[in-house]
């Protein structure tokens, strides 16, 4: 098994996640794409953990998962709030922060 195969898989997932973030109008879908990105990171971490034979990769993978959970929680809460005010969660309408 090559280290590369795992890293490349991570990379592909990462890029798909990036496309998702950019292309998606619906906030939830964007959150999902972010999940994709986080997972690709996890794969990388663990690949290197195995390669270097240290447990660091594992701890950080766990931390990433924890953070992802927190992030989805807050993200969805915000989406809920926005939805309640705006009746729509299309991102391109939420432009109040315009410079």
């Amino acid at each position: 098994m090559l280290v590369n195969q795992f890293l490349m898989l991570g990379a592909v997932l990462f890029c798909i996640g990036v496309y998702g973030v950019i292309a998606r109008r619906n906030a939830v879908l964007v959150l999902m794409s972010i999940e994709l990105i986080l997972n690709s990171v996890n794969i990388n971490l663990l690949a290197f953990a195995l390669r270097n034979g240290s447990a660091d990769g594992h701890t950080f993978a766990l931390y990433v998962i924890a953070v992802a959970a927190a992030e989805v929680g807050v993200g969805l809460a915000m989406v809920l709030l926005v939805y309640r005010n705006r009746k729509s969660i299309a991102l391109d309408e939420l432009a109040e922060m315009k410079g």
Partner: protein, 784 residues
């Protein structure tokens, strides 16, 4: 380098207290100036007595010094070099260059010093009467005294810096004096013009001094131990064969430009006639006998520099003599066209200065200096005469046509002194003008400048002509205007507005009283005016005999006293005489006798081998009556012709046609003219006046006014316009614009980037990742 030749003639030179302390002379008027400024108003005669006393003191001291100098020179036989009495103190020094101040007294300095002191004294006495009751009486005397201080300082200057100091102070005083009645715009403009033109010339002075200083300093320090600024250093350096031709030529030309400016020579002479706007005493002192001579004095003082720089005896034409010649002709031509008596005299002064410059330019050093001496007396006399006429006869107007005529009956003394001075000016035999002006023409011819000799003769002819015309218009014919007793107010016109219009509370204007009794027709002026006139007239006759070449060698006093002897001298005598005192001069073995009776010395021709020259060897034309007769005939012809024409024009004034010409002019010469009087009139009116002479003079005047004056004013306007343009465009728009625009640019960039902040999360994501991608790509490319 110094060959200790044993048989060198040990000459011990006497000197006196006065000769050693001539440096006090300029300080007296300077102190008097300060006193007048502060206490003038409170003195009984409002400051004028202080001025006169100081002038008398300077006159006495310079006369005594002259006397002691004569003894010093007479005590030694002809060929020995008489070192000047030099005293120098370091005024200030910066980085090795030391700038001294002190006195450099020799024949030239003393003769001009005496002239300045004498004329200033007479003019100050004259002004007490002339300016009686003037609003700024004290200021007038203050600036007059300051002027004398400046001129005297320049005359005895030991180095160029002191000379520049005096030169500029004179410029300042001429500005203040011309603009004495500055209420009237014309006067202040004339003052401004005078100051600018002289100041433009002064660039030459600054540049010339710097160039010469740096070229000469190294040599003068090495051989003579004195700085390159000193006059004797520069003279010795010029003749030492040391200077490269470019340095000395550039220096000489630059200095000569300053002389052109100051002495009103050809291109920069336009300010002198306008300077007549000043009170008449000022015109007589500054703008005829002393200040305008400064340029000629500078050329005479640094003669070796000009001798080498302009290669004077080398070629038969050089810059100085050309300028001198042109000035003589055009000034004389212009004098014809003038109605204002002071303008005529002004152009005559310019023409006479042209003579002096031509003389110096052609190697006639002594005649030119002698002409300064004589010209000062008779020209001052003429101006004071004109002043006396305006003061007592024509109610302050100087217009010959309108307000003068037939005054010989009413003002005998002024008339006689005027006639004497005119004859002196024209160069008639017994009078001083003959001895000096004729000498110049003679020597110019002798030195090979034949073209300029002819120019001199033509000039003499024209001088005689216009002076006769002026004399006729003022003293002969029927009295016109103010002289005829009409007391019309416009006579108070532009020229001398004595009383000022403003509600002047200060001194009760005594002038009005004075005006009343003059209303009943012209009469002779008071004693304070006539006495100076008489003294000057006497001197106009007497001064000629100081160097009367026609009466043989022993009469040529000035040649002995004034002309510096061109001897090879060991450097010590010229060298640093720390605190003055009579330097012992060891003159080297006398060179062999030359056929002309003066022994020839290498100075000026080739580089002196074992010593130093201080003056170039100049040759003197032997006086021959044949040559003198020629010029006398020309002068008499001029007088007669001009007299005749004036009679025709003004006597027969009633004809309407005649009136048109307003003035006569010189016709052709010869018999036809005299034979047919009537035909003459027709010929004179239609052909000569309209066709030839009239346009030339008018043209000359037009050129003078439009082209030259226009150029000067044009330069002013152009400078103003370009200044405005430069200021508006370059300064405000470009430079200031860039500063303000940098602010605007920052704002512009800001607004350009605003859309990036669109508030859309996706866009941020896109930008973020896009940037990351590009960054990564770059890193990858760099590493692989």
């Amino acid at each position: 380098m110094l060959s200790a030749s044993t048989e060198a003639a040990e000459a011990v030179f006497t000197s006196g207290w006065f000769l050693d302390h001539v440096w006090i002379v300029p300080i007296i008027p300077a102190v008097a100036f300060a006193l007048i400024i502060f206490f003038g108003k409170r003195l009984p005669m409002k400051g004028s007595e202080l001025g006169i006393v100081s002038m008398l003191a300077t006159l006495a001291m310079s006369a005594a010094a002259a006397y002691q100098w004569v003894n010093r020179v007479e005590a030694v036989e002809k060929e020995v070099f008489v070192p000047p009495v030099i005293k120098a103190w370091t005024w200030w020094s910066s980085d090795g260059f030391s700038f001294g101040i002190g006195q450099h007294i020799d024949g030239l300095a003393l003769i001009v010093l005496c002239v300045v002191a004498f004329i200033s004294t007479l003019v100050q006495i004259y002004s007490v009467e002339y300016l009686h009751g003037d609003r700024r009486y004290t200021h007038f005397f203050a600036s007059l005294t300051l002027f004398s201080a400046g001129m005297m300082n320049m005359v005895i200057a030991e180095n160029m810096l002191q000379l520049i100091l005096g030169w500029e102070i004179m410029g300042l005083c001429s500005f203040m004096l011309i603009g004495h009645w500055w209420e009237d715009g014309a006067n202040s403009r004339a003052a401004l013009k005078a100051f600018f033109t002289t100041r433009t010339g002064d660039i030459g002075l600054l540049v010339g001094t710097s160039v010469l200083f740096f070229a000469a300093n190294e040599w003068t320090q090495k051989t003579l131990g004195i700085s390159g600024f000193t006059i004797r250093g520069l003279s010795a350096w010029a003749l030492s064969g040391e200077p490269s031709s470019t340095a000395i030529t550039v220096g000489a030309v630059a200095l000569f430009i300053a002389c052109i400016g100051k002495s009103g020579q050809f291109p920069l002479h336009t300010w002198l006639p306008d300077a007549m706007a000043g009170p008449t005493p000022v015109s007589s002192l500054l703008h005829s006998s002393t200040m305008v001579v400064a340029g000629v004095f500078l050329v005479a003082r640094l003669y070796p520099v000009f001798f080498e720089g302009m290669n004077i005896l080398g070629t038969n034409v050089n810059f100085i003599v050309v300028i001198g010649g042109i000035t003589i002709i055009i000034a004389a031509a212009l004098a014809f066209v003038q109605n204002d008596i002071k303008k005529v005299l002004a152009y005559s002064t310019v023409s006479q200065l042209g003579y002096m410059m031509m003389g110096l330019g052609a190697g006639a050093w002594l005649p030119a200096v002698f002409h300064i001496f004589t010209h000062a007396f008779f020209k001052a006399c003429l101006f004071l005469g004109a002043g006396s006429i305006s003061h007592s006869a024509s109610h302050h107007s100087f217009d010959m046509k309108k307000d003068m005529g037939g005054l010989r009956k009413y003002m005998p003394i002024t008339f006689i002194t005027w006639i004497i001075s005119t004859l002196a000016l024209c160069g008639v035999f017994p009078f001083s003008g003959f001895f000096s002006k004729d000498e110049i023409i003679d020597n110019v011819g002798h030195n090979g400048y034949n073209v300029f000799m002819i120019v001199g003769l033509v000039g003499a002819f024209l001088t005689a002509a216009y002076m006769t015309r002026a004399t006729y218009l003022t003293f002969f014919g029927t009295p016109r205007g103010a002289s005829a007793g009409e007391h019309h107010d416009d006579a108070h016109g532009s020229h001398d507005t004595h009383d000022d219009h403003g509600h002047d509370a200060q001194a009760h204007d005594a002038h009005d009283v004075h005006d009343d009794h003059s209303s009943h027709g012209p009469r002779e002026s008071g004693k304070l005016i006539t006495v100076p006139l008489i003294i000057l007239a006497v001197l106009a006759i007497g001064s000629g005999f100081l160097n009367a070449t026609p009466f043989g060698e022993k009469w040529e006093k000035l040649k002995v006293w004034v002309e510096p002897r061109a001897e090879v001298v060991d450097p010590t005598s010229v060298a640093l005489v720390a605190h003055g005192g009579p330097g012992e001069a060891k003159s080297l073995p006398a060179a062999e006798e030359s056929e002309e009776g003066h022994h020839s010395s290498p100075c000026g021709s080739e580089t002196p081998t074992d010593g130093v020259c201080v003056a170039p060897q100049l040759n003197h034309a032997k006086f021959k009556w044949s040559k003198a007769a020629l010029s006398l005939i020309i002068v008499f012809a001029g007088i007669l012709i001009s007299w005749f024409l004036s009679m025709q024009l003004y006597e027969r004034k009633n004809k309407a046609l005649v009136g048109l010409t307003q003035r006569n002019k010189l016709l052709g010469a010869g018999y036809k003219l005299l034979a047919n009087k009537y035909y003459l009139d027709a010929l004179y009116e239609n052909v000569i006046v309209k066709a030839i002479a009239y346009p030339i003079s008018r043209g000359a005047y037009w050129v003078n006014q439009k082209v030259l004056d226009g150029a000067v004013n044009g330069a002013g306007i152009v400078a103003r316009v370009s200044a405005g343009w430069v200021y508006r465009n370059i300064d405000q728009r470009v430079v200031d614009g860039t500063v303000n625009s940098s602010g605007a640019a920052a704002q512009g960039a800001g607004s350009a980037l605003r859309p990036v902040q669109s508030g859309k999360v996706n866009q941020y994501g896109a930008l973020l990742f896009g940037a990351a991608a590009i960054g990564a790509l770059v890193l990858v490319i760099i590493n692989t």
